[in-house]
Structures are given as C-alpha cells and as structure tokens.
C-alpha cells in the first residue's frame, strides 16, 4: 500500500498546493495500486490505543513492489485515542494527513491534487500490524509465541527482550504467511529503529526507518 502512497506523494512534485478532505475510503485505482487491493479490505482496524504509549517520531519509508518503488518522509504521532500520520513532499511541504481517532474514525486530508488509490485503512493496518501489542504484554523470556487474534494467526519471535519478528496468516490457512514484519534496534521512545514489512498478499516490501525529530 505504501508503494502506491509513495507514488502519490511523489506526484506532489508535479502539482500545486491545495487541500481536500474525504471520508476514510478514497479508492480511485491510480498509479501503483494493486488491482486486488482496490476491492479488498484490510479487515477491522484496531482502535488507536491498541498501540501502546504516546510518541511523535519522524520516519523515512522506502517501498518496493512490482509496480515500482519510491520513498518519502512522514511523522507518526500517537496520542491517547488518536493516531496521526503526516506525509511530506520532497520539498518538505505537507502531502497528506491521515488520522484515526476513537471518536471520529478515519480521516484523510490530501494537500496534493491526487486521490489516494486505495483505502487509507490499509496504511493504518500496516502501522497497527507493526506496533500493536497483538499478543499482549512482552513475554518474560525470549523465544517464540503465537495466538489467534480475530481471524488471523499471529506469531512472534523475541530476542534480547525485544520483538525481533512477527508474522500474520489467515486463521483458515495458517501455513501461508501473508505479512512478515522484522524489527531492528530500539529507539529512546521504545519504537524499533528499523522495520521491514513484506506483504505477500499484495506483493510489496517496506523499510521504515525512525529518524531523530
């Protein structure tokens, strides 16, 4: 999903500044969208507070898929009851603002004259897959653990007291992993320094690096 998002952000280079707001779903089938993604659903989004803590972090996202590749900078902010992702153009201007709040749901604001080619719920789901405490608090010992959450089987590997990897598979086909997340390092706010996400369902890879503000 973020591959198409990077295309969306890079499109800002050729557009003029404006602002439009839309409801949570703004599928338009634009460049970089997976045909299957346009009609798919990411499932039920966990609430913002499924992500523990509060933080504001700056991130660089690099995305690759068969449709292309790209990168952009964003800020991810978690406050009680609210998750915010603010994406930037290559000039550092606002490209889009994606907000999920317990009170108002999902809201996407675009500052560039393009429609996001898929539901923004997919982006939020990727963030939740990486940062939610899917299987509860950290285990007391390193090793592997797993469990079923809603309709997915979640498996985790912990080393050195930190989450090293996490996989997701459909509960009715647990041998086929749909999403793999790998974690490297830990920042001062407890978030991973670097995350890689491989989404086999939609065929994209992401690398997310957390930077100093």
């Amino acid at each position: 999903m973020l591959v198409a998002l990077s295309t969306f952000v890079m499109a800002a280079a050729g557009g003029c500044g404006h602002q439009s707001e839309g409801p949570g779903d703004s599928r338009a089938g634009g460049a970089g969208a997976s045909p299957s993604a346009a009609s798919a659903s990411p499932g039920i989004l966990p609430p913002p507070d499924a992500i523990p803590g509060t933080f504001t972090v700056r991130q660089k996202i690099v995305a690759h898929s068969a449709h292309g590749s790209g990168s952009f900078e964003a800020v991810l902010q978690k406050e009680p009851g609210k998750l915010t992702l603010l994406g930037f153009t290559p000039y550092g201007a606002r490209a889009f603002l994606l907000e999920q709040s317990a009170a108002a749901g999902v809201k996407l604001t675009s500052y560039i004259p393009r429609q996001l080619p898929f539901s923004p719920d997919f982006i939020l789901m990727d963030i939740h897959r990486v940062l939610d405490a899917w299987l509860g608090p950290p285990p007391t010992a390193d090793g592997e653990r797993g469990g079923t959450v809603r309709d997915e089987v979640v498996r985790e590997r912990w080393t050195g007291g930190h989450l090293a990897s996490r996989t997701f598979a459909a509960a009715n086909d647990p041998s086929r992993v749909t999403t793999t997340v790998n974690y490297q390092g830990v920042t001062a706010v407890g978030l991973p320094v670097k995350v890689s996400i491989a989404n086999a369902r939609f065929g994209y890879d992401l690398t997310i690096e957390t930077l100093a503000m």
């Binding site: 890079m10 280079a13 050729g14 557009g15 003029c16 500044g17 404006h18 504001t56 700056r58 660089k60 690099v62 590749s69 990168s71 900078e73 800020v75 902010q77 406050e79 915010t84 603010l86 290559p90 000039y91 550092g92 201007a93 606002r94 603002l97 690096e209 930077l211 100093a212 503000m213």
Partner: protein, 207 residues
C-alpha cells in the same frame, strides 16, 4: 540628558529604500554564496518540531543547492527551470513550471540572492527596514515578503528574512495553515566563487 531626535517617517523610508537598493546591488555582484543551515519546522498538529541541518550553495544567476545532512541525507538542486531532488535511493527531476507554488518559492530565494528586485516585486509586496537602535548592527536589515500572486498567496502567508550586509542570518516562513519554519544560517560566505569543478560536485544530488 541628551535626547536623540528621531528621523521622520519619510526620511526613514528614504533610508530603507537606499539601503535595500544598495544591498540588492551587492547581492547581484556576489560571486557565490555558501552557508550552513539549521531548520526547525513547526507543524501545528505535531508536538515537536522537525529539525534539518545541512548546507546551502548559490551560484549566480540561478543555481541553488540545498544538501540536508541531518537527520538523513537528501538533496534539492535548482538549476534555472528544473528542480532535482533525491538521495541514496535515487533522484527525480521536475519542471518547476508545473508547480507554481514551488516555482514562486524557489524564485523568491534565488531572486533575492541574485539581487533581482523586479523579480521579487513581481511575486511579493516588499517591506524592508534597516536595523535601528543602539544594539543594531550597522548593516543590519529586516525584510518581509508577502506573496501577492495566486496560488502562492493561498499557501504562504509571509516570509521574513534578517541579515547583516550580504549575510542572511535567519529566514522565517509562515504558512496559511499555521505551520511555520525558522531557518538559521551560519558560516555564511558571501564571497564564494564556484569554479567548474566545484559546480559539478555541488550542484547535483549527493548519493
């Protein structure tokens, strides 16, 4: 007690006009400019500012490069009508003519450094004041640029620059959204000629 007699508004205006004309003429003769910068971008909905550091290079009449070194390396290079941006993952170019806001923003900075008053006046209402008061630097100045053309006037509320002679010390850009960016310049060299080898090295995306 001696009370200094204040200049009349008309006299002050004449002084400001003369100083601005002289300053732009000096900019027009500068062989090139180098500076380090630290930028703080304050976004209304974020709880902490974004901080970037790097270097700025200008070679007249219109080559400008901004290389960000922290927190992550990236480059923005403007060469007449084309802007190229990128970093370690690669680079992309665009025709500035396709983005009027970017064009106006880039032009304003380039036109100031090139001493192009007519160009500045095309895009902005200009308010220039000489620094005054006992602690004011002798060549100190304050410049306010207020966009007068659409769509830039919808995005940017005003740009203010402070300097001393050719040395631009600080720039603040206030956006209509409430976001604002403060850039502080240091190690400013306003007499920096870029020879062909240095131009080839500096005015390209750094990988």
């Amino acid at each position: 007690m001696v009370v200094a007699k204040a200049d009349s508004p008309a006299k002050n205006e004449a002084k400001n006009e003369a100083m601005m004309t002289a300053l732009l003429a000096r900019f027009a003769k500068a062989p090139g400019i180098f500076a380090r910068y630290k930028e703080e971008k304050h976004i209304a909905l974020l709880q902490a500012p974004l901080v970037n550091e790097g270097t700025i290079h200008f070679a007249p009449p219109g080559r400008l490069a901004r290389h960000t070194t922290k927190p992550i390396a990236s480059s923005l290079v403007i060469d007449d009508k084309k802007v190229t941006f990128g970093g370690a993952e690669g680079s992309e170019s665009m025709d500035l003519g396709t983005n009027p806001v970017a064009r106006a923003f880039v032009d304003s900075f380039v036109m100031l450094l090139a001493g192009n008053r007519a160009g500045l006046e095309r895009y902005f209402t200009i308010k220039f004041t000489a620094a005054r008061g006992p602690k004011a630097a002798p060549d100190g100045w304050h410049l306010v640029l207020i966009p007068r053309t659409s769509p830039m006037d919808k995005v940017i509320k005003e740009m203010t620059l402070d300097g001393n002679g050719l040395e631009i010390r600080e720039m603040v850009v206030r956006e209509s959204s409430g976001d604002w960016t403060r850039t502080v310049f240091s190690a400013v060299d306003t007499n920096h000629p870029y020879d062909a080898a240095e131009q080839a090295r500096v005015f390209r995306v750094q990988k």
